[in-house]
Amino acid sequence: MVLRWRAAAIVALGALTVLGSGPAGSASEAETSAVMGPGPLVQRRLSPEQYRQIISDVFGPFITFGGRFEPDVREGGLLAIGSGKVGITAKGMEEYDGMARNIAGQVVSEKNRGTLIPCTPADAKTADNACATKFLGQAGRLLFRRPLTDGELRAQVRVANDAATLSKNFYTGLGVSLAVMLEAPQFLFHMQTSEPDPSSKGQYRLDAYSKASQLSFFLWNSSPDDELLTAAEKGELSTQKGLTRQVDRLLTSPRLEGGVRAFFVDMLGYDTFINLSKDAQIYPNFTAPVTRDAQEQTLLTILDVVLQQRGDYRDVFTTRRTFLTPVLGSIYGVKLPKTSPNSVADPWRAYEYAEGDPRSGILTHASFVALHSHPGRSSPTLRGKALRQFVLCQRVPDPPGNVDFTVIQDTNNPNFKTARERVTAHMTTPACAGCHKLMDPMGLSLENFDGGGGFRKIENGANIDTSGELDGKKFTDSVGLGRAVHDNPSAASCLVNRVSTYALGRTVTRGEAAWVSDLQKTFATVGYRIPDLLRKVALSDELYRVSAP
């Protein structure tokens, strides 16, 4: 739906419902609102990726961004929920202002105006009401995700005309007005509005345009395209047939991949990659390209399982098939000759580890074992905690205050050669044991992978014991851990919880718990296939029902 009238060539979840399946002592991470009916309207701030995607969709992928986004906030396990709680600070507004002017400048530039502006002013040295109205009306519909009201359009055109008069340049005026649009709350927030539900007296639902946005941000991580907005305009989204047609269209679009990718980036906490750094002396191979490729490896692996193969979601924890680049190969000990020139990144290559190889499933990827380690050493505790938090939707309590850690002091003690020996000290100390038993036994099975993601059998001269346990299921190594996670009911229920709250942009209410429970059953029935789950969610009334204003 690129805003391009002349050259169409340019493209355009908590264990709340882990209901009893969590281990004793682990807290349910997502909260359930006490509300018995549907939840409230949510005004969510665009995520950086959504902002970029919308600009790319509307104006083209060649637009560059010169600024930084406000940090996101994770709530209920997801940034998507946190986005409904945050505003924009003064510094953030400064950044949005700079980006808006930069983008608008590119759109109205001599280079791009011919393709991106649908009309030519009668005189480029002054205001042109008709052309400004046409451009701002069309761009505004895509940016605000609904047609502009008459008042909004008048105000935007007035800004364009005033600035054109002052600068004696129509395009400068248009750019000033477009920049304002890109700084408006209607663009920077998904602003939901509701209407009475004619089919249920006294009930409310999202209006057609809010429904279109709910759907497209859920499945595409971007704003509705022209066809979806047109369907909203014609009232088609209010009929089951019309809604189904659009949902199926979105699900079969190549853009679904972007939506699923965004979901997993959020669910797996990949926003923390921004602060990942490894000590260059201890892990010399862990370079910036490795950081970049590590998350991409896991995302490609997940997309391969759940979309390309339409497989069982739980297989992501056991699959030996993955995708590698030469730089990742240097971490994993897989020799992949570089085929591109030095300045060009090599293409991704599918790679399958041999049966029994410890590298099986995404928990053995650098995106997990390195991300959840210290800069200079591994951490069974951080890995176990991350597994509970990101994969099983369980919250491990914070360490208590006023605890003396003397018992585990002295890492140079010859008795504490391996991580297992060090964390065993935690697990035998009453004040620490309660929580560490929830984390360490799983993390220890990944000890064959050092803090930089490399493989090892020995630590400080001692053999590494990779035996572990997850909720009573014992295993001997990382392959066993992957299988245990695959078979753990919390893994599937966590995914459903995350998908449902991600789609809603808020935690579910008690009144919606039955819906989530039904989704859990459906997910099992359809063989844990994510596209089927997405379809079920997207066609649910619950996704569009809201409480009375």
């Binding site: 906030v73 600070t89 005033d162 400068t172 007005s177 003396d404 850690f405």
Partner: protein
């Protein structure tokens, strides 16, 4: 091409701008402050108004070792404990508080959070977050280009500055801060000529298209939804004010000069790099203050739970505080102590930089009030008793300095209340629950 950059090529004379505005009919601009000049000794504007008091925060992670930072005696003429020895040259610019604590009441002792949150909000779990810098900035930061500037020396974007759900993210690169403050939009207050930028005039005028919608939009939102959008509109207002200020002729400032760019270290957790960037940040922030660009700064030497480390080491500062054995010959953890001393050396760098800016008979540090605080009293146990806190600078003569005060178990909120009252915030109490206090350190206040 940026929209306003397009105008960089042809600057308009003031007369032309006013004529253009009249022609456009929709643009207004405040009159330049043509009459504002410094007096001859550089301590005040020509109208006798003193240069403004400024505020800052400086956070270091992981507290101190009890018994190794406190002076042996309170009062004046004291000596810092060994861990704070780097601050000794600044003793007479400093107030050191010992025996302060964060009262947790029924709240969980969230490790590495309850302490710094208590110091900045007067509560370990504030019902609505408003850090002290944002409260002070509402009083002294409303007529500067930037209401506040936040930096983090450890490569993160972490910040203690927050009002509502969203934190004011820190700048982690000195080069980025430099570009933000002293880039093309900087107006040198000492320049011989001043010409308002027509791009700024248009930007300011155009924002009315947004602000005019505020009432109608807010009406549509439920109470729970309003906070985020309300903050948005407040920020738009801040942007408008920033533009208003950029359209005014700034008053000349004696100590203002555009700093040279420095070579920054790669932003990250290596403490030597953090130290390098702290020095660069200190210089840029001092120039920003001296040039009237802001009156409020927030410096985070590291996150509260500090991941600072040394190149080639598998251990972080935080890990040392928990896992390193206490050396019984000295009574503290040797490696953790090294990190701590380096933190205070970095703080001394900042203080030295501010003190190096002469303004009349005094220095920039004299008109500042900086609060130094941390996340825990004793990192090894996550304790929030005996929280080390300090203030630096005389707040433009409103605060006495050079004292070590034993608070004997009082709440940390007393420091915050003292700071607010010294900087003109009209409040008589601060803090929540057991941290609520109406007792500033009155002995430090000048009449």
């Amino acid at each position: 091409m940026s929209i306003t950059n397009g105008f960089a090529q042809h600057r308009f004379g003031r007369r032309n701008v006013l004529r253009g505005m009249l022609g456009g009919g929709a643009v207004t601009v405040g009159l330049p402050l043509l009459d504002r000049f410094l007096n001859s000794n550089g301590t005040a504007f020509a109208d006798g108004k003193a240069l403004p008091a400024c505020f800052g925060t400086w956070l270091w992670g992981l507290g101190c070792d009890p018994g190794h930072w406190e002076p042996k005696v309170a009062g004046t003429k004291y000596e810092f404990g060994t861990q704070m020895a780097a601050l000794q040259p600044f003793r007479d610019d400093t107030n050191l508080f010992i025996g302060l604590k964060v009262y947790l009441d029924s709240h969980a002792a969230a490790p590495h959070n309850a302490g710094w949150i208590g110091c900045t909000t007067g509560s370990p779990a504030p019902p609505s977050f408003a850090s002290i810098d944002t409260i002070v900035a509402d009083t002294i930061g409303t007529r500067t280009r930037f209401k506040s500037l936040e930096v983090a020396c450890d490569g993160t974007k972490t910040s203690v500055s927050r009002k509502g759900a969203t934190a004011n993210a820190s700048e982690n690169s000195p080069a980025a801060l430099y570009a933000r403050v002293f880039g093309p939009e900087f107006k040198d207050p000492n320049a011989a000529e001043f010409t308002p930028d027509i791009g700024d005039i248009m930007r300011k005028s155009s924002l009315s298209a947004i602000t005019e919608q505020r009432q109608e939009l807010m009406k549509k939102l439920g109470a729970a939804d309003r906070a985020g959008v309300d903050q948005y509109f407040t920020s738009i207002r801040e942007l408008e004010k920033q533009l208003e200020i950029m359209l005014e002729r700034p008053a000349p400032l004696e100590a203002c000069a555009i700093p040279a760019k420095g070579d920054e270290a790669p932003p990250g957790y290596i403490i030597d790099d953090a130290t390098t960037n702290n020095k660069l940040f200190a210089r840029i922030l001092a120039h920003a203050l001296a040039c009237g660009q802001t009156n409020v700064i927030n410096v985070l030497f590291s996150e509260p739970l500090s991941n600072l480390r040394r190149a080639g080491s598998s251990m972080t500062y935080h890990m040392y505080t928990h896992e390193e054995a206490i050396d019984t010959s000295v009574g503290y953890q040797i490696e953790a102590d090294r990190f701590r001393r380096q933190c205070f050396a970095a703080l001394a760098d900042l203080l030295g930089t501010l003190k190096g800016f002469k303004e009349g008979p005094g220095t920039l540090l004299d008109r500042m009030l900086i609060v130094g605080f941390t996340d825990v009293g004793y990192a090894k146990t996550h304790g929030v008793d005996n929280m080390p806190m300090l203030t630096f600078g005389k707040a433009g003569g409103r605060l006495k300095t050079g004292y070590a005060i034993d608070a004997k178990g009082d709440t940390v909120a007393r420091v915050g209340l003292t700071v607010q009252q010294a900087l003109g915030v009209r409040t008589s109490t601060w803090g929540t629950e057991s941290n609520t206090t109406g007792r500033p350190f009155a002995e430090l206040m000048n009449a």
